[in-house]
Amino acid sequence: MSILIIPAILSGMMMGAVYALVALGLTLIYGVLHIINFTHGSLLMLALYVVYFLNLQLGLDPYWVIPIVLPLFFILGYCLQRGLIAPMSGGSEQNVLLITLAISLMIDNLALYFWTSNTRSVDIAYAYDTVEIFGALLPFGRVVAFVVALGVAPLVWAFMVFTRTGSAIRAVAIEKRGAELVGIDVNHTYAICFGIGTACVALAACLLLPTFYVTPQVGYTFVLVAFTTVVLGGMGSLPGALLAGLLLGIIESLCGLFLGESLGQIGIFLAFILILFFKPSGLFGKRAGA
């Protein structure tokens, strides 16, 4: 069993990077809009289908469609927030929860109606390629996802810190009324933020499909772990999401190895409870009122 520990840790890190990518958009949306976005899993599923059909119909590689899918999902996210969520919620956070849940149910059922519950996966040349690191054979697709996750999280952070739009987003997140008073278009900023979060989930879909499958239910497979990642890392914290994703991946993998795969997820929730017990705001979260 001991010879499996290093491969298990590395394999867990690779899976954790996928969790981090999915959680990145979720934590961004929470950090600014202060809403739990129930559409996140459904949007991940929708993005996976878009990548799948682009591959099937046009023969486009899931990695090469990133420049197409990211803007597309940014626009979709922007329109969802501006056209549906904001006007229908009337500013109430409870309403937002219900609306995102309703949108999620509609997307899931439309996917089931149009694409059936048939499992689909892409057949690509490098699907079975591996990269050898410290004697462990890691799937090429997972290594790519890991590298991109390590690159994207600081990029989004830099965008938030060094650009005018990022500053506006942070201003709205901290003090909505104050941001309005200094001339920031709050509704537009909210929609931009939702758009970026949705683009992040689309990026996760592009990196996930080479090693995974798509069905109308696939979003649920990741979104629960993504919520855990967000809370563990600290609500709204981008570095926290990355670190928590990697940590959960390793914990899940090692628990699966030592306790059995059926009990692998126990480790995730045990870590979650322990962190909340000793640091309720999460790894990188700010305390309420801080």
Partner: protein
């Protein structure tokens, strides 16, 4: 000018008009119709399998109708009443009411045991026969319901025959397989299968070196592949559903796990042409013991051609559903009646031996067709070949599988 429009001519005209209007219905009445229900999950988690089953039933009805329908009933045409079970047992049970209202003589379905258990229980109240296309759980036939007829084999028979066939294959190859790893989903289906295998494999001289349960869904099979690799098992016996089967097969390939065979029993993907198409490299030489038709029969070949022309996948769902409609048609032919009670009696006395399945004459004992048997399939190139038993085989079994070049 004399008016010719009198009472007599009015009556004649009205009579002619009434005859003209009623003529089509009179003509229609000359072609009797017998209604047969198809209760399948057309939406929900099992939609793919349910839709395939419904397609199989349609192909069978078309073939029977084109051949003159039910001759003992004046050439009555089979009209299918297709109802969606929505992949939910409670919906499957309530859908039986729809079938009764439509006046079906019997029905087929319902892809998963859980759905079939619910629907057959509901149908028992109406004395309505259900001929199971697929329903492997033994509780399907152990409840003593007189309206239940399972045409295909259950899990006990599938496992028993799978182990017998494995023994023969292994003996033929000089007993090269000495150790086995079992990877199974941790629900009742996979756990029960693993329990039977743990008891039976050592009797064949095959030592179990690793048993790995996993949840459904499961996101990452890397650790499982590593454990199978470390166990140095000769053969892997998986029992899981299509999504996990696909991820597992990929992980085994990526971790360069060298096996002499992957031998599934009622495998989630191993007899699914979609798995072959989308994961062709890792699917090669994977064996399964599952439901499959007799590919040597002319009607089987005709069905394969129709399925291809319709752009559908030729899966075992299509085959078993086709066969169950054949069984119902035979019962109608012998009973010459669409009466529900007579249908139950006619089905119970069935000795039908002309279905597309590789079965002998049908013999229902407590609703279970004792002549039903699974067969061994193997993925070869872009096809699923029947390799065992030899009298139905479309290709020779390759066992053990060739060593992969990594």
């Amino acid at each position: 000018m004399k008016n010719t429009f009198n009472r007599r001519s009015l009556l004649q005209g009205t009579g002619a008009l009434a005859l003209g209007v009623s003529a089509p219905s009179v003509l229609r009445a000359q072609t009797p119709i017998v209604k047969v229900g198809v209760l399948e999950p057309l939406t929900g988690n099992l939609a793919y399998n349910g839709t395939q089953c419904a397609a199989g039933a349609k192909f069978a009805a078309e073939t029977i109708n084109a051949a003159g329908g039910i001759k003992s009933m004046g050439g009555a045409k089979i009209e299918l009443v297709i109802v969606d079970a929505q992949s939910r047992p409670e919906v499957a049970a309530s859908a039986v009411d729809t079938l009764v209202e439509a006046n079906v003589c019997a029905f087929t379905g319902a892809t998963a045991s859980a759905l079939g258990l619910a629907s057959s229980q509901a149908a028992a109240k109406y004395n309505l026969a259900q001929v199971f296309s697929i329903g492997t759980a033994e509780t399907v036939v152990s409840r003593g319901l007189p309206n239940v007829f399972r045409f295909t084999p259950g899990v006990n028979k599938c496992t028993s025959i799978a182990l017998d066939n494995l023994k023969l294959l292994n003996q033929g190859a000089g007993n090269v397989v000495k150790t086995a790893a079992i990877v199974h989903e941790d629900g009742p289906f996979g756990s029960n299968m693993a329990k039977i295998l743990t008891e039976e494999l050592p009797k064949q001289g095959i030592q179990i070196v690793e048993t790995i349960p996993h949840p459904t869904p499961h996101r990452d099979f890397s650790n499982i592949a590593l454990r199978v690799k470390a166990s140095k098992a000769d053969i892997l016996i998986p029992s899981n559903y299509i999504n996990e089967y696909t991820l597992m097969a990929r992980a085994l390939n990526q971790q360069r796990v060298e096996l002499k065979a992957i031998y599934s029993i009622l495998g989630g993907a191993a007899s699914n042409i979609k798995f072959v198409r989308e994961n062709n490299e890792v699917a090669q030489y994977v064996m399964d013991c599952n439901h499959w038709y007799d590919p040597t029969k002319a009607e089987s070949k005709a069905l394969a051609a129709k399925v291809a022309a319709a752009g559908l996948d030729l899966t075992y769902d299509v085959m078993v559903s086709y066969a169950t409609i054949q069984v119902i048609a035979d019962a109608l032919e012998r009973g010459a009646s669409a009466d529900r009670q007579k249908m139950i009696a006619s089905l119970a006395a069935s000795t039908f031996d002309k279905s597309i399945m590789p079965y002998g004459p049908t013999k229902f004992v407590n609703g279970d067709n004792t002549s039903a048997q699974p067969v061994n399939t193997q993925i070869r190139g872009d096809k699923i070949e029947l390799v065992f038993p030899k009298q139905y085989a479309s290709a020779e079994a390759v066992f053990p599988m060739p060593v992969k070049k990594n």
